[in-house]
């Protein structure tokens, strides 16, 4: 199965930056930046799809997600961040594995 990047992009593009998701996410208060919450994840993923650039913050954001989907319940745009993050992990693995030289670590605040 190959992840459909176009449909992923359409979904993350629906984010209206309302931030309701940040109120229910268990990881946002533990990390050092907003990429540790759903709104940050969705928008870092959007930026990644647009610019094809992998940053340390982006990797920490994608791998610190619990896939718990608490954010989906409150999202007015019904963005399924859990499933999106899973698919983005797969894209990183399949297409960018050899270009990631630094360690992927989840940083505590």
């Amino acid at each position: 199965m190959k992840v459909n990047i176009k449909s992923l992009y359409d979904e993350v593009n629906r984010c209206v930056y309302c931030g309701f998701c940040e109120a229910v996410c268990p990881t946002i208060n533990l990390g050092p930046h907003r990429g540790y919450g759903p709104r940050g994840r969705v928008n870092l993923i959007k930026d990644f799809i647009e610019n094809k650039k992998i940053t340390t913050e982006f990797l920490a954001s994608v791998f610190s997600c619990l896939l718990c989907d608490a954010c989906l319940i409150v999202c007015p745009a019904k963005i399924d961040t859990g499933r999106i993050v899973r698919d983005v992990r797969s894209i990183i693995r399949n297409e960018y594995k050899s270009s990631i030289n630094e360690k992927i670590t989840i940083r505590e605040r």
């Binding site: 533990l30 698919d87 693995r93 360690k103 989840i106």
Partner: protein, 316 residues
């Protein structure tokens, strides 16, 4: 520890051994020793091995995390990667979780099997074909490994003419429905979860005078829509259910999925959750081996964590 190392080790071990940790396969079906369950039937209990594996997985993760923190940690992890590529079983002798934890989890599987046999004595068990589902590979996006592994599992089902399976935990239920559907061509296995199955029967579980707090696993409530079924079963026993502020569709994660990637994150989330649960009652019901293991790391001594199957079999 570097997330890339964890993923590489997990993928390699699963492909080489069929399990995410290098242990003897008989550990998965040892719960069925001296238990009377058929080998052949129309419907099969498929545990996906998660309950049985959790003590081994958690022990391995802690072990790897502790060696990665040593001054020569990077070299030791690289050595582990090399050893696993040669033969993962070289590492099996160092994986020694507590026997108590192993026995407790085997007892949960046995309790679930008891419930299934009570509603239909023809339900069969896969024994050596009760293979790990590969759900951790799927969740981490290790699709190259997951694709190979899921096809192996499907092939073993086909060899045994399996058409319908009963799953017993949220993660296995979800991956057998969604993950396998995406990765395995002609996938046609009907998947039913045991709580769904039991709640559709008139099973008489007897009565139990207890007040309990319920902890919904995220994957049951938000991915698989299993919220009412466990409540219906508990209420049929006269049990008083206390709901934490975050429950049902709005449940709060136990932190377990991050246990291998960031033990500190995972523990902090578990602490928040256990406080929410204990504000309702001292006894908490879990329905997932990952939730139970992660919450038990942070629970105070007076609190009790019980898998729902233990409650449902109180009178059986």
């Amino acid at each position: 520890m570097d997330v890339k190392d964890i993923m590489e080790l997990l993928g390699e071990i699963t492909i080489k051994t069929g399990l995410p940790v290098p242990i003897d396969k008989s550990k998965i079906f040892e719960w069925a020793n001296n238990f009377n369950i058929n080998r052949k039937g129309e419907i099969y209990l498929y545990t996906g091995a998660l309950y049985q594996l959790i003590p081994y997985i958690n022990y391995t993760v802690k072990y790897l995390d502790s060696i990665s923190k040593l001054p020569s940690g990077d070299s030791l992890i690289n050595l582990a990667k090399i050893i696993i590529k040669i033969s993962p079983y070289y590492l099996s002798s160092i994986i020694k979780p507590s026997i108590k934890e192993i026995n407790e989890n085997n007892a949960i599987v046995r309790n679930i099997a008891k419930l299934l046999i009570k509603i239909d004595k023809n339900i069969a068990y896969l024994y050596e074909d009760d293979i790990y589902s590969g759900v951790l590979l799927y969740d981490m996006g290790l699709d190259d490994y997951f694709s190979i592994h899921s096809q192996k599992v499907f092939k073993s089902f086909k060899n045994r003419n399996v058409k319908k399976i009963i799953t017993i935990d949220p993660h296995t239920t979800h991956v057998m429905r969604e993950g396998y559907q995406k990765f395995v061509d002609n996938y046609d296995i009907e998947v039913i979860n045991y709580l769904e199955l039991l709640s559709n029967t008139n099973i008489d579980l007897g009565k139990l005078n207890k007040t309990l707090t319920i902890h919904d696993p995220c994957v049951y409530s938000r991915y698989e829509n299993i919220v009412d079924q466990p409540r219906k079963l508990l209420k049929s026993m006269g049990i008083r259910i206390k709901e934490p502020k975050r429950s049902g569709k709005n449940t709060y994660c136990c932190g377990g999925p991050l246990e291998s990637l960031s033990p500190k994150f995972s523990e902090d989330i578990a602490k928040s959750r256990i406080d929410q649960l204990l504000s309702q009652s001292d006894t908490i019901i879990t329905m997932c081996p990952i939730c139970k293991a992660n919450l038990s790391r942070v629970k105070p001594d007076y609190a009790k964590l019980i898998d729902i199957s233990e409650i449902l079999t109180s009178n059986i």
